[in-house]
């Protein structure tokens, strides 16, 4: 609505800078020639000068039997169409067109065929059924698709293992850089701030029990066990998972993926495996980096506002973090990485049709990846506790 209003205003401004003499406006007069009702058009019968002419023509009281075009100054296809429609509806005769005008009119007449503008309308009941059915089929297909995609990845991996020459070293290294090295800054910054926030919030709560010094335990354990890897996974899903979906989606649209297949290059080997390998390898490294930086952030806070000197801080960390915490964090990381890459690539490969689809699939890729990561994280938490790594 607002858009339309703005557009109207813009058009009005546009008209203001373009002075329009009234004589050019498309107009008509109704006359009687004997007992034949005549409609005489004047001005320019062209799209820019139409104004409200179509509406006024619809409101005609007396159907014209003759349409006189001697007085018009110009006519374009839209004008010709309006005249043609008026003439066929009222079985009126058209007079007074010059040769060019007649050619134009004939051109338009020839184009007057029934054309389908929109899909055939459905009854509302059928439409509900249709949409429910579609949604069910799509959900089932997505599940199946994900399974077969997973299968294709396994097959691809196996064929690369059997045939190591097919392994695309360059592509993999390039992905390592994009997924890992280029993410260092943002992951570091995020972890540093998270470390400070944990320390600050923890200190406020623990102070109530006089246990401020336990802040170090809090920072150390929560970053290694949970937050380091989890936050990194969310960041990588947002950065790389979305990029994978958008890249593969666009390549699907431009038929690059099809072209690859016809040349005999397997898209799974060329596109998916390098990305999968990159996130799987980079996630533990990034996660570890994130843990360390978060601890540094927390340490700086402890130093400045709790007066715990860095050396003591490090000493305490070594005492309170069991080695198993690090294993917990680092075991989860590659699994999360694989999930991010698989959902990004899977959604990207599902794109078909139009540009909007790329956007939708990219969104789903990120949402799906983060959701799965958090669900799995919960499972891991239960699992590790039950095997006694707490």
């Amino acid at each position: 609505m607002a858009l339309q209003l703005a557009r109207k205003q813009r058009m009005q401004q546009c008209l203001r800078i373009m002075p329009e003499p009234d004589s050019l406006k498309a107009d008509f007069v109704e006359e009687m020639d004997g007992d034949v009702p005549v409609l005489r058009f004047t001005g320019r019968l062209t799209l820019p000068r139409l104004d409200d002419l179509p509406r006024r023509l619809e409101a005609l009281e007396r159907p014209p039997k003759r349409i006189d075009l001697t007085q018009i100054q110009r006519i374009d296809t839209v004008g010709a169409w309006i005249v043609h429609k008026l003439a066929t509806e009222n079985e009126a005769k058209i007079v007074g067109l010059d040769a060019n005008g007649q050619t134009l009119l004939r051109q338009v007449e020839r184009s007057d065929k029934p054309v389908l503008m929109r899909p055939e309308p459905f009854s509302p009941f059928l439409r509900v059924l249709d949409e429910v059915g579609d949604a069910t089929v799509i959900a089932a297909q997505t599940m199946l698709g994900l399974l077969s995609f997973f299968g294709a990845i396994l097959v691809g991996t196996w064929s690369v293992i059997r045939n190591p020459r097919r392994f695309r070293m360059n592509a993999v290294i390039q992905r390592f850089e994009l997924v890992g090295v280029k993410a260092l800054f943002i992951v570091g910054l995020m972890s540093f701030l998270i470390g400070i926030v944990i320390a600050q919030q923890g200190a406020v709560q623990l102070r109530q029990f006089g246990a401020e010094s336990l802040t170090v335990n809090l920072i150390g354990r929560i970053t290694t066990r949970e937050l380091g890897v989890l936050m990194t996974a969310i960041m990588v899903a947002g950065r790389s998972g979305s990029a994978f979906a958008a890249q593969l989606g666009t390549m699907k649209l431009t038929e690059e993926v099809d072209a690859m297949r016809t040349i005999g290059v397997s898209p799974i080997e060329a596109l998916v495996l390098p990305r999968l390998l990159a996130t799987t390898c980079m996630m533990p490294l990034l996660g570890f980096f994130s843990m360390i930086v978060a601890m540094i952030g927390g340490g700086i806070f402890c130093w400045l506002s709790l007066d715990i000197p860095p050396l003591t801080y490090i000493q305490r960390l070594r005492e309170v973090i069991p080695m198993t915490d690090l294993w917990v964090g680092l075991t989860k990381a590659p699994v999360f990485g694989a999930i991010i890459a698989i959902s990004g690539c899977f959604q990207g490969m599902q794109v078909k049709g139009n540009a909007e689809e790329v956007g939708l699939r990219t969104t789903s890729a990120v949402v799906q990846a983060i959701f799965l990561v958090i669900v799995l994280d919960a499972f891991f938490a239960v699992f590790f506790t039950s095997i006694g790594w707490d």
Partner: protein, 266 residues
């Protein structure tokens, strides 16, 4: 805006480059009002880039481009809008909006510039443009991804023609059309050009189209327009590319066809 100027598009001293690659240098070109100007040249000589500079999508490094006597670059949005609604553009790749149906694609310029048009008239206009551009009658509700390559071209043409423009830019309109469709396209362009009097900037590799409908032909080579004129005038020049182009096997075939046609007519 001077509407009596015999020159619709005036390009002077145009220079375009992408990094170290210079595509155009010191290029001059005039397109006269009401003519169909064919633009030919080898692949990669910068025909599409020239079209993009004329419609203001590509900022030239040097030189000026005047459309209807005005430069598109230093205009504010409103004034540019007034010129833009007087032209229609068909891009080489079709450039249809992929999220809209064919019918909606055709209606986009109409809705944009004439928001007061009634829904039924919009549908009627789109319908006859669909037929006119040679699309099958059931193409209206289809999405571009569901069309064949040639149908995409035609839908792009229908959208370019939506506003009955006074200036039409066509980038290889007949590439990918079947010969019957290409001939129908030629006659459509020609008859619309005669009846509506519009100016056409037509990039093409199709010799038949050149012979059939172009009033003049501009040849792009060596980063410039090396010649403009009717085909006999061009043939009189002794530039090797022009000779090769018109006197190569395909050029001779097209010439022969034209001769045959005029004989049977006479």
């Amino acid at each position: 805006m001077n509407r009596d100027d015999p020159i619709a598009i005036r390009v002077r001293g145009l220079k375009n480059s992408f990094g170290p690659q210079v595509v155009h240098e010191d290029l001059d070109l005039d397109v006269r009002n009401g003519e169909i100007l064919g633009v030919v040249g080898g692949s990669g000589t910068g025909k599409s880039v020239l079209m993009r500079s004329i419609i203001g999508l590509q900022r030239p490094d040097e030189g000026e481009v005047l459309v209807f006597g005005e430069s598109m670059l230093d205009k504010d949005e409103l004034e540019a809008l007034d010129i833009r609604r007087r032209w229609g553009v068909l891009f080489q790749g079709g450039a249809l909006f992929s999220t809209l149906t064919v019918a909606e694609n055709i209606q986009v310029p109409l809705r944009e510039y004439y928001p007061d048009l009634s829904e039924s008239l919009l549908d009627e206009i789109a319908a006859y443009k669909v037929v006119m551009s040679g699309l099958p009658p059931d193409a209206g509700p289809k999405y571009p991804a569901e069309l064949s390559g040639g149908m995409r071209k035609r839908a792009g043409l229908a959208r370019a023609l939506a506003l009955d423009p006074t200036l039409l830019f066509l980038d290889e309109p007949t590439a990918g059309l079947d010969p019957i469709g290409a001939a129908a396209f030629d006659s459509l362009t020609q008859s619309l050009q005669k009846t509506l009097g519009f100016t056409v900037f037509l990039i093409t590799h199709d010799l038949d189209t050149l012979y059939a409908i172009c009033d003049r032909v501009a040849v792009l080579a060596d980063r410039k327009v090396i010649g403009v004129g009717t085909i006999p005038e061009l043939l009189a020049m002794d530039h090797p590319w022009i000779q090769e182009y018109f006197n190569g096997p395909r050029g001779r075939a097209a010439t022969a066809a034209v001769d045959r046609n005029s004989e049977t007519r006479a």
